[in-house]
């Protein structure tokens, strides 16, 4: 069957189309040069098809290969990674397509194509991407099918339909294997995709970072609540605690605590500590978070938690972190608490850490802080209140595009000159002033708000919900949350970023096509909501169906006893059952009747109920005449139906089906 025969035009065109569509989802991962050589190969191949091109000479092919290899070597550090392997595969696809002559070559190209589709899943598993990859698969199947067709003239639509049918027939088996085949670790592995390029929170905040985040509508996480949902003003999702300031940047330092005679073990725990020098009070929110990969260890929570998710730690700064950087989508459940934990007293070293500011710079702010502290009667809470009313009453502005404060005294510059800033500026300045007055304070980085979806009891948080706020420590009360942004721009907290920015600024300026921008348009918004719902279900139930979920699901289904035997039996039985059903339907495929004959079959059924069955070889009109002769009441309706029917069936004058149906209802 497979021969050295030339590949037909149509198959070649299919393969070219498949190449271009397969390259599309991985173009971000693959060096541009390889994409370009892929397009070049496709173009060259089309030129050959049109009789205007020559087969590429050996040296040129060698040159192309060298270019591809060099671009891979130059682009990737370390060299051996998933992206570099995929790049080489993509280049191989394109070059094999270029030099392909025989059907055997074409089959190799098709198989590389399948493999490329599979690798695209490693980079992204969204619903949209999956649907697109399905489309790529159908293209490849059509190309492969085309190799075995004698005729070169099969129309595109019927090829696609045929390939789709093949894929559809494989669907039950795919689903069964997906559910039942045990997930096994890889025998060897290349490093997983690198997340350094991702937009996201970092544990070092320079004012302006968060403003950058606000330009992205990328999904960060979704939280589904079991029962109550916190009101908008309470949705402070903590991710990082920034307690070290070098004059410009806020950093997270709890890794250094062990130096300060504080053992890691005591500081970080698997279970939240509710006793001792540090107390937490249990809250009432139960929720499940599905976070997108960040490449960073921190996880999102509403503050203190009652239980700690698997493979993660809880820090006494009230943040949750994973043992490993979160490189793939992570689902975890939390028994939450409101961030109202209390420490009764604070060790001296911690007080020192949380009041430390650089010894130089920001002189005006320091003096201002001390003055304010004195005016407030050395009461930190009163001082915080005065600061908030200062932000509220003086002409401070909340803006997405603040001026750059780049002098040595950034806080002075912001507080006394610019007065235009984003949440990070306000939180940073607030904490700086508190610390300057000797009050322990820290910046908390995370997300605030999110879009609430009532029908799923779900809050969806995107990058533009990124936020920074402040906490100060008050003896006897513990850490108290103050959000200076709320004073400047109450809408930001109550309704989100879009409501908070002025008419002069554009929401999501970098993504003009983002569906999120068009929330005001009814249909688009409804489409977006439905799609996001589907996407969530897809991520939660399909992509997240990993080893643990699979085993739990199967154990509940098959029972615990001899579990692995049962799994194997179920797998074998299921596969044989599906194959049997498929082959039986193939054997006994009933030709579906055309609509007219279906209608006549209904007529026959009705007549059979009245005791009239056509004799062997008795045609429609004779049958109707026989009925009319033996039953006068039936004569008229039966004859009029029959006449209309034979006119439609044999006269083929396109008479109306509904007229026939109407006549059929008369008896």
């Amino acid at each position: 069957m497979l021969s050295d025969a030339q590949v037909s035009r149509i198959s070649t065109l299919w393969l070219i189309a498949a190449l271009l569509s397969v390259l599309f989802p991985i173009w971000k991962q693959v060096p541009l040069l390889i994409i370009l050589t892929g397009c070049l190969s496709a173009g060259w191949r089309i030129a050959i098809l049109q009789g205007r091109g020559h087969w590429p000479p050996f040296l040129l092919r060698l040159g192309l290969i060298l270019i591809a290899l060099v671009s891979v070597v130059v682009s990737f550090r370390p060299l051996i990674s998933l992206e570099s392997s995929v790049s080489i595969l993509a280049a191989g696809y394109a070059f094999k397509l270029l030099e392909m002559r025989s059907q055997r070559d074409a089959l190799v190209v098709v198989y590389i194509g399948y493999f490329l589709v599979a690798t695209a899943v490693l980079f992204s598993q969204t619903l949209l991407q999956t649907l697109y990859l399905m489309f790529c698969l159908v293209m490849l199947i059509a190309a492969q099918q085309g190799l075995f067709r004698e005729m070169d003239t099969t129309p595109v639509v019927s090829s696609i339909r045929f390939a789709g049918l093949l894929a559809f027939q494989a669907a039950p088996l795919t689903i069964l294997l997906f559910i039942l085949v045990p997930r096994m670790g890889p025998l060897w592995s290349v490093p997983l995709p690198d997340n350094s390029g991702r937009v996201g929170l970092t544990d070092a905040m320079t004012p302006g970072d968060i403003a950058r985040l606000s330009r992205s509508d990328e999904l960060v996480f979704r939280a589904r609540f079991a029962a109550d949902v916190p009101p908008a003003q309470q949705r402070y999702w903590r991710a990082v605690v920034l307690d070290q300031f070098d004059g410009k940047t806020w950093k997270q330092t709890d890794k250094l605590f062990s130096v300060a005679a504080m053992s890691q073990k005591n500081w970080v725990s698997k279970q939240p500590v509710t006793e001792g020098w540090w107390k937490n009070r249990l809250g009432s929110y139960q929720y499940e978070v599905m976070m997108e990969p960040t490449g960073k260890p921190w996880m999102y929570s509403l503050g203190a938690v009652g239980t700690v998710a698997e493979k993660s730690y809880f820090y006494r700064t009230m943040r949750l972190a994973s043992e490993q950087p979160v490189d793939s989508r992570l689902l975890y459940s939390l028994d939450g608490m409101l961030p109202r934990a209390r420490s009764v007293s604070m060790p001296g070293w911690l007080v020192e850490l949380n009041t430390r500011i650089p010894v130089v710079g920001n002189d005006r702010s320091r003096q201002y802080a001390l003055r304010l502290f004195n005016q407030a009667g050395e009461d930190p809470v009163k001082m915080a209140g005065r600061l908030l009313s200062l932000f509220r009453q003086d002409d401070f502005y909340y803006t997405l595009s603040p001026p750059l404060y780049d002098q040595s005294s950034t806080i002075d510059q912001f507080l006394f000159e610019g007065r235009r800033g984003f949440c990070a500026h306000y939180a940073g300045a607030f904490v700086y002033l508190m610390r300057a007055a000797g009050v322990p304070a820290r910046v908390i980085g995370g997300y605030q708000g999110g879009e609430f979806k009532e029908d799923e009891n779900l809050i969806q948080v995107r990058q533009f919900d990124a936020h920074a706020w402040a906490e100060i420590w008050v003896a006897g009360q513990g850490w108290l949350r103050f959000d200076p942004t709320a004073a400047v721009s109450p809408q930001r907290i109550a309704s989100g970023l879009e409501a908070a920015i002025g008419p002069a600024e554009t929401f999501l300026p970098d993504s003009p096509l983002s569906l999120y921008r068009y929330r005001q348009s009814g249909i688009i918004n409804r489409v977006r909501l439905v799609f996001e719902k589907a996407e969530y279900q897809w991520q939660r139930s399909v992509v997240n169906f990993k080893q643990d979920q699979q085993e739990a699901f199967l154990r509940s289904l098959l029972g615990d006893k001899d579990f692995y035997w049962r799994q194997a039996t179920a797998l074998a039985l299921g596969v044989s059952l599906i194959l049997a059903v498929l082959s039986l339907t193939l054997l006994y495929r009933r030709q579906s009747l055309p609509p007219l004959q279906k209608l006549y079959a209904r007529f026959l059924k009705k007549m059979a109920r009245k005791g009239f069955v056509p004799r062997d070889g008795e045609a429609e009109l004779s049958f109707a005449r026989r009925i009319s002769k033996s039953d006068d009441t039936l004569a008229e309706p039966v004859m009029s139906f029959c006449e209309a029917y034979i006119q439609a069936a044999y006269g083929e004058n396109g008479s109306e089906m509904h007229e026939l149906k109407r006549l059929l209802t008369r008896f």
């Binding site: 030709q591 007219l596 004959q597 006549y600 056509p614 004799r615 062997d616 070889g617 008795e618 045609a619 429609e620 009109l621 004779s622 034979i646 006119q647 069936a649 044999y650 006269g651 083929e652 004058n653």
Partner: protein
């Protein structure tokens, strides 16, 4: 249309109790086919043909076939005319609109073929000159099935030239009584009006040929034909030419029924006379009619 029914009615007064056979004969004529009537002597074969020619207003000639009949006796001869000193063609009986070839199986194969060729080509060659036969041209041949001594049986290949083969059979008692009383038969022939003329007949033939044959009906005809090849009790099945003949006859029948499209009943009505003489059963017990009951109407 109503003229056709008038014709049939008129023919019924001559040949009593043979309504179906008369209809089939008219149908055969409308489908531009030739007719073979196989029956015993005295069953009204000649009367039927004679009456048909009158009613249809066709020119009619009769040739009694014998073993010494020569092809020229049918097609005509070229003779020298003393007056004009020229050879002139004297057309034979084949140059008529309706030719009755009585007892065709008594003629020698050579003469038979001459006639059969004329039937197929609708022209004859005399001295190398093609001579067109009149329009319409309709041959009715009769054959006596019993006294086979000294006859030349028409081979199957030649039988194929006839669109239908009919058997008249004995009349039912009532009709026979009427014939015996002298109320029917040849005696009434003179009173028979000419309802059609040749032009009208050609028009009717054209109209009936335009009848619509649908996809479903073609499938049915295909099933019927392939069944004749598959059942195994015929030496050979129906040929594609036989299929064409079947459809042409069915179209004419549908036209007579007042429809411009063909339904399975039309095919069934003409199937036996069209197919019977083209199929040679291996055993007597199997009949062509069984094919109709054994074939599904719908796919």
């Amino acid at each position: 249309m109503s003229e056709v029914n008038q014709c049939i009615h008129a023919l019924n007064t001559i040949i009593r109790g043979k309504d179906l056979e008369i209809r089939l004969a008219v149908c055969c004529l409308l489908a531009r086919g030739h007719l073979l009537i196989e029956d015993l002597p005295g069953m009204g074969k000649t009367t039927l043909v004679h009456a048909l020619a009158r009613v249809m207003g066709l020119g009619y000639q009769r040739v009694q076939f014998t073993s010494d009949l020569l092809p020229a006796d049918i097609t005509g001869v070229t003779v020298f005319d003393k007056n004009t000193a020229n050879f002139t063609f004297q057309p034979g009986p084949v140059f008529s609109q309706l030719l009755l070839a009585d007892e065709i199986n008594r003629a020698s194969p050579r003469t038979q073929s001459a006639l059969l060729e004329a039937m197929e080509e609708r022209q004859v060659s005399v001295d190398g000159q093609p001579q067109s036969l009149p329009e319409p041209f309709f041959v009715v041949a009769t054959q006596n099935p019993v006294y086979q001594e000294g006859t030349f049986l028409l081979p199957e290949s030649q039988l194929d030239r006839f669109l239908m083969r009919l058997e008249l059979g004995y009349p039912d008692p009532e009709s026979e009584k009427a014939i015996l009383k002298g109320e029917a038969g040849r005696v009434e022939m003179d009173a028979l009006p000419a309802i059609f003329n040749a032009d009208q007949l050609i028009k009717a033939q054209n109209e009936s040929a335009r009848g619509h044959v649908g996809e479903m009906l073609l499938d049915y005809v295909m099933r019927l034909i392939s069944r004749t090849r598959e059942v195994g009790y015929f030496n050979v099945g129906l040929s594609p030419r036989a299929g064409l003949a079947l459809i042409a006859a069915a179209k004419a029948w549908a036209w007579m029924e007042g429809r411009d499209y063909v339904i399975p009943e039309d095919v069934q009505a003409v199937f036996v006379p069209v197919a019977d003489h083209r199929l040679k059963a291996k055993e007597k017990s199997q009949s062509v009619r069984e094919l109709l009951t054994g074939t599904r109407i719908m796919g």
